[in-house]
């Protein structure tokens, strides 16, 4: 059969961000692919060495929109470790709250795009409409739909009072039945979704370990690694974190992991509001941040996010370096795509939920 070369990207309707694949196609099957990165490189790591610690907080929040809470959270945790700042308990709970609310919105966005890619526009609209409940909640609590600006060094910048808490619970009460009674059953039983996503882009648990895969991609293949339980930060050690795994390692399993994690995150949000202790939301006047270095990691919606911060005693950090889960996850595309049909390319790319702007920063 004649083989030819097909470019996918850098701009392609079903890719949310610029990513460029050169795909060798034989008939309707993928024979090989080459991933070209670097289309949204903005030099953010370099810029962090030109700005002071507080300016960097605003900068790092803007690395990526869907994980825009995880980046500043990890960065603040690193600086708190270096300076030995004690974060008040209430602030720790509020950090978990911001983390989980972003996870809900991020995962729901991804599964909605899956429906769009298989041409199921009604489901796409339905999931996005359900997600809109969460977007409204974020806008009400944080004043923003995407960049929450929740974290500051030593705590958080926002607070939840009784009225807000009641509002959030009412919003969760609206979202939860939609998710449990409509969206999850549709993904579990709908014939189109099943026939298009099951058995596509398969990887095994061994591949997860070999490639160092993270997040829902690994958990969808039965590798139950989650920073929230493996190395709890903030108050995750006191939360009932469920690690959801599916054994099959296909596109469908990854989508199901995300959907079940949304349900788990909603339970965590409720737990946060219930257990929220009184007290300060930040550490007050901050001490001088000495020279030092720290490594922290958090569970971003896409998996483990590692931050390394090195300070030299000035207010400008000597080095800020981070490793995002998509960096490992997109390498496994080589494995997932070969032998699959070209109609499954966007589906497989979407299933690893690549965050290009995090990875290329």
């Amino acid at each position: 059969m004649k083989s030819f070369n097909m470019p996918v990207g850098p701009l392609h309707v079903s890719l949310e961000e610029p990513m460029y694949f050169r795909i060798d196609v034989e008939g309707e099957k993928v024979a090989g692919l080459e991933i070209t990165a670097g289309h949204v490189h903005r030099g953010i790591e370099y810029l962090t060495a030109k700005r002071n610690i507080y300016q960097n907080l605003a900068l790092i929040e803007r690395v990526c929109s869907l994980c825009s809470n995880s980046h500043p959270e990890a960065y603040c945790m690193a600086l708190e470790t270096i300076a030995g700042i004690e974060v008040p308990e209430r602030a720790q709970y509020l950090r978990v709250f911001a983390d989980e609310i972003k996870r809900v919105a991020s995962h729901m966005f991804n599964v909605a795009i899956l429906a769009h890619v298989v041409g199921f526009e009604s489901l796409f609209m339905h999931v996005m409409e359900a997600r809109e409940i969460m977007q409204d909640t974020k806008e009400t609590v944080f004043g923003n739909r995407m960049d929450l600006a929740a974290n500051i060094i030593g705590g958080v910048k926002y607070d939840i009072d009784a009225a807000q808490s009641a509002y959030i619970i009412s919003q969760l009460d609206r979202l939860e039945p939609l998710l449990l009674n409509e969206i999850i059953p549709v993904y579990e039983t709908n014939a189109t979704i099943q026939s298009r996503t099951r058995g596509i882009g398969r990887i095994t648990r061994e591949h997860c370990i070999e490639y160092g895969l993270m997040g829902p991609v690994a958990r969808g293949a039965g590798h139950g690694y989650d920073v929230r339980t493996a190395a709890p930060y903030a108050v995750y050690d006191r939360m009932d974190v469920e690690v959801i795994t599916y054994p099959d390692g296909d596109v469908w399993s990854r989508a199901m992991v995300r959907l079940k994690e949304v349900a788990a995150s909603i339970r965590l949000l409720r737990q946060c509001l219930r257990d929220l202790p009184d007290g300060a939301t930040d550490a007050g006047p901050l001490p001088f941040i000495p020279a030092g270095e720290a490594v922290t990691k958090v569970e971003a919606p896409r998996g483990e996010l590692v931050y390394y911060v090195n300070t030299d005693g000035t207010d400008i950090p000597a080095r800020v370096k981070w490793r995002v889960p998509s960096y490992m996850n997109w390498d496994v595309l080589h494995l997932m795509m070969v032998g699959e049909g070209i109609s499954d390319i966007p589906l497989i790319v979407n299933s690893i939920d690549p965050c290009i702007s995090c990875t290329e920063r």
Partner: protein
């Protein structure tokens, strides 16, 4: 003779082919878009949006990629449109319009209905884009899958109508329509039910309605054969698909349910039948996702093919 020719030309260019079919087709597209939007809890575009889109495309510049075969790239949309104009003139509007026998019979119509698909394949391969090439191969696969069942369905109706009228086979659409208007629609004839279902299953594949909108899948192959088109040629391709929906639905109406009042009311009833079919298509489109090409081909080779054969056997058994 000259008068006949002129009337036929008028039928192809103005009514019911040409301008009328364009207007009706675009209006049906508008209805479809609005209906889908409402099913998805969106507001949706105004009903005249397809007309706006067409006007916009007609006023834009045409870009021809360096890799394209210029001549084929530009002529193919015209061929598709011309074929559909003639085909639309061959569709009787029960009680209002009878096509001239000069235009041809059911066999010619069957071939004309396939022309836009062939035009789309040529367009895809002439554009020199890999997406166009994939669109080409997908379009070909799905055409090969649905041509069989639709032919079986047409032959079943023609044989049945022919037997009823004392001919070996009825290939004149006007005769089939007249017979049904006097003796009741074939839609309610249980012997023709498989043929009717086969025809129904052919409509979404031919019109590119989900789950069979595979050749032009936007999220997968960037609209496949259309990817390199812009401006007026793209407008003509969109227009062709609009007329095609009138032709394919109109043919179904003529074959299975042409009954209705005479005169201008017949025209209105015909348009209403088209709207009902389009709404059904919108419901289908909103309810399912897209199949993979292998799944769709397998589906057509299995169920509609089986139904088509069953329909033909049922009709033949009664001869």
């Amino acid at each position: 003779m000259i008068k006949d020719t002129l009337w036929t030309l008028l039928a192809v260019v103005v009514f019911p082919g040409g301008l009328f079919a364009m207007a009706l087709g675009l209006a049906l597209k508008g209805v479809e878009r609005r209906a889908i939007a409402r099913l998805q809890r969106r507001v949706g575009p105004p009903l005249v949006q397809p007309f706006y889109d067409l006007v916009k495309l007609m006023r834009k510049r045409t870009l021809i990629p360096d890799t394209a075969n210029r001549f084929v790239f530009l002529t193919v949309p015209l061929i598709g449109l011309a074929a559909m104009g003639v085909a639309a003139a061959m569709i009787p509007i029960p009680g209002f319009y009878q096509p001239s026998p000069l235009l041809g019979d059911l066999i010619v119509l069957f071939y004309l209905v396939s022309v836009p698909a062939v035009a789309l394949m040529l367009a895809g391969s002439a554009s020199g884009s890999p997406y166009g090439a994939i669109g080409f191969s997908r379009e070909m696969a799905i055409v090969l899958a649905y041509e069989g069942p639709i032919l079986l369905s047409l032959v079943a109706v023609a044989l049945h109508a022919g037997a009823a009228m004392g001919q070996p086979i009825a290939l004149n659409l006007s005769d089939i329509v007249n017979y049904q208007q006097q003796h009741g629609a074939f839609l309610f004839d249980p012997w023709l039910l498989p043929a009717f279902l086969t025809y129904l299953s052919f409509i979404p594949a031919n019109l590119g309605i989900a789950p069979f909108d595979i050749p032009e899948a936007e999220a997968e192959v960037l609209e496949g054969p259309l990817v390199e088109y812009s401006g007026p040629p793209l407008g003509l391709l969109k227009l062709t698909s609009a007329i095609k929906s009138v032709v394919v639905i109109g043919l179904g109406v003529a074959l299975f349910f042409p009954n209705g009042p005479d005169g201008i009311a017949g025209l209105v009833v015909f348009a209403l039948k088209c709207v009902v079919m389009v709404l059904a298509g919108a419901l289908l489109k909103a309810a399912v996702g897209r199949m993979r090409i292998d799944q769709a081909v397998l589906f057509y080779l299995k169920w509609p093919e089986l139904l088509g054969v069953a329909g033909l056997v049922l009709v033949a058994a009664r001869l």
